[in-house]
Symmetry: C2
Subunit: 448 residues, 2 copies
């Protein structure tokens, strides 16, 4: 990979950064309403430029330090920088930190000089939860780098996001301590309007972090898929936020939550697009586990502090499906090879589904299940002369896609999966907004 | 180094941790006053145990990943783990995060349920500045790890602490925005009681961070000196805090600041003692730049948010002297060899001052200055037959100590320097409390 920007790249990024700086200066001078969103957009574009340039500049330094890998799905397996997601995560964190004055400065200072009141308290509480979000994300980046450096064992790895979520949970505990959920209308005669989950609410938040961060991490392996799937999720959440912000009358209780969500997601989209430019087929850099944890944690933090964790789960359905589908191999019911990447066919240049060979015959019920899955077109099974299962496709959604649609080039595979994910996500949002009206008395409940 | 704890170590650490857990459980149950300090002590001992065990357990993993170095001041230069300060920094950060509920929970929740008031606002502001402190420290750890990994250039390195201080500065700006300093009594007729420094105050805070973090980093090189000098500074600040907390009537405006300072420093002392146990002569691990930045930043954050930055500067005088003394070599007025460690004499087993040879004759004024320094016993200069300077001792306080007191063993050298540092620090505190009465109308001003 070239380690410097081309002339035109440098020019475009420079011009973009300059424009953003001017916009930011302008938001400072005119003092009008709605500035934080404009500022957030400008910061996100700045974050894009910085990440784009830094990924390029730092690639060689990463390789020199041993952070490098080979792309197994290519004819020419040249070495390329690994762990570059850490760069975008760092840019993201600093962007969030620099952004702090825009949403928080005016209200807090204006009000503290005029004596304390309820509004400022809320503002300060929001500042505290914003800071706790940044802290949680910073923790996850530190732990993710630790994982990329030391190859932590699988069973410890899974817990990293839970540890990363501590700052957020603790500040949530100190700051709000609200652990009640809104009860669906049909259940209200039995449970009341609000039901206090107590410590279960914290367990729920920790589990959501584990789920979100790890679900990105296991739908991985082909060029661009980690970053692109994160972008799809982020864009769908932004769509959901915009639906609230544009179509509900201001001021609405959910407005602040969805603004909060935008502030976290716009810069994330900025750094991720810059990373994707280098990680999309044919990849010039790898992103590393750090990015997957980080992206998943951005969603968890966003969903929890923005109060739409259930919507988030809907948007993670493809990842959840991939996890359930992978479970037989993850939990060793069926042998699991070291890598479950698709197989690269050097002659055709296409990816085929990778297979796991069963040296020992499978247990009766397992064999029967696999055959059933085969009949449902959810797996590709090959049997030997004795009718025993000799091999099957590996249990990942990526391989399943190849079973369904046959061998294809890596980028078409990624595009297909992303289109599927987008379709599922849009359906999820539609169902969530339709269904909510049936189950709750009003849709725009800020507890979603 | 053994990679596991001995039986007795495991037993002691286990017992200590259990005792701390019980104390913490107790502070939760009785709900009395003064609990946060007890909790902070318990957390600090827990942090000690965790760091002690983790440094031992992770040493080999660090070496396998290439984080290792040789001790140049030993006969047998075995390899040992490098960058272990990152472990203590991580433990420290998580300790600070887990500690949050103790000082903040009761007041905030009690008051938010009863409607907003001025006290809770202050509490929330303090929570925000506590979180910003943790964020700043986490930034510095991330950047320090980056430095340890990638060997950042000297001129960029110096700025790392400034970048790390951004979160603190930005939250300070949003949260308080107070940039006034108390004017010394003799100047009040001209400047008024308070003088607004404006943005200069932020520049001052950033510079203090740069100074504090780098000053630890350049007084380094012999076993234990980085950690032990940090411990001396931390203990002196704790002494200063205790003088306030014990001898001023409660409630005093400075009480909260000095409690804040204790909460940051007690766990720091915990993790540093555990690290020192492994880093003291003969060292089993190296601490890395990460530790030096981290320690310096703890002091800067503590001094700034605890409002005693000028006292902090007094306590850093030995480091400041070392910097000024090093300046001729740092700024290349005099040649600077790659390493300025003392020279290990394999025959005697003692350290001697290391020397720099001057291949080319020095410029007239520089040669004259060196000769003057030699006459003042501030340098050891050797001249050749022509009367030209052939070599001199290297310009660090460590070498100067060896010039003064002759060759000695590494641990005695460290002890001597630490005793000197402690003496200077105690004098500083004494002068600061005596002198303050002369220059300000009252001593216990919370702006110190």
């Amino acid at each position: 990979m070239a380690s410097s920007l081309s002339h035109s790249e440098a020019l475009s990024l420079g011009a973009l950064s300059l424009a953003c700086a001017l916009v930011l200066a302008n938001t400072l001078s005119d003092g009008g309403e709605g500035n934080p969103v404009v500022a957030s957009l400008a910061f996100s574009l700045l974050a894009f430029s910085s990440t784009y340039a830094l990924v390029r500049w730092l690639g060689n330094a990463f390789m020199r330090r041993g952070f490098k890998g080979r792309d197994l799905c290519k004819l020419k397996q040249t070495e390329m920088p690994e762990m570059m997601g850490a760069v975008s995560a760092m840019v993201y964190l600093f962007t969030l930190i620099f952004f702090i004055p825009w949403p928080f400065y005016k209200d807090i200072v204006a009000a503290t000089s005029g004596g304390g009141n309820r509004d400022v308290m809320q503002e300060l509480e929001q500042l505290a939860s914003y800071l706790s979000a940044v802290l949680s994300l910073q923790c996850i980046v530190l732990l993710g780098i630790g994982d990329d450096l030391f190859d932590i064992r699988w069973r410890h790895k899974v817990l990293i996001p839970a540890i990363g979520s501590f700052p957020m949970l603790i500040v949530y505990f100190v700051d709000f301590g609200v652990t009640q959920m809104v009860v669906p209308t049909p259940l209200r005669p039995y449970l009341g309007d609000l039901f206090d989950l107590g410590w279960l609410y914290y367990a729920y938040m920790a589990l959501l972090s584990i789920f979100s961060a790890n679900s990105i991490n296991i739908l991985a392996g082909i060029n661009g898929i980690e970053v692109a799937q994160s972008l799809v999720i982020a864009l769908l959440i932004v769509l959901n936020d915009l639906l609230y912000l544009l179509f509900t009358p201001y001021p609405h209780p959910a407005t602040d939550s969805h603004l909060f969500s935008l502030y976290l997601l716009l810069p994330f989209i900025g750094v991720s697009v810059a990373l994707l430019k280098h990680n999309w087929y044919p990849a010039k850099v790898f992103v590393g586990d750090t990015y997957c944890y980080f992206a998943g944690m951005v969603f968890a933090v966003d969903g929890i502090l923005g109060h739409f964790s259930k919507t988030l789960i809907l948007l993670l359905l493809p990842q959840a499906f991939n996890f359930v589908y992978s479970a037989p191999q993850l939990f060793k019911l069926v042998p699991c090879p070291r890598h479950r990447l698709p197989h690269f066919n050097a002659r055709s240049g296409l990816l085929e589904c990778s297979r796991v060979e069963f040296k020992k015959p499978l247990a009766r019920p397992i064999a029967a299940s696999l055959k059933l899955l085969h009949r449902l077109r959810m797996l590709d099974v090959e049997t030997n002369e004795q009718g025993e299962i000799a091999s099957s496709s590996n249990f990942t959604i990526i391989n399943l896609w190849l079973v369904w649609f046959g061998p294809m080039r890596e980028d078409r595979l990624a595009m297909g999966l992303l289109a599927f994910q987008t379709a599922v996500g849009l359906c999820g949002l539609l169902i969530r907004h339709r269904l909510a009206l049936l189950v709750f008395t009003q849709d725009n409940n800020d507890n979603w």
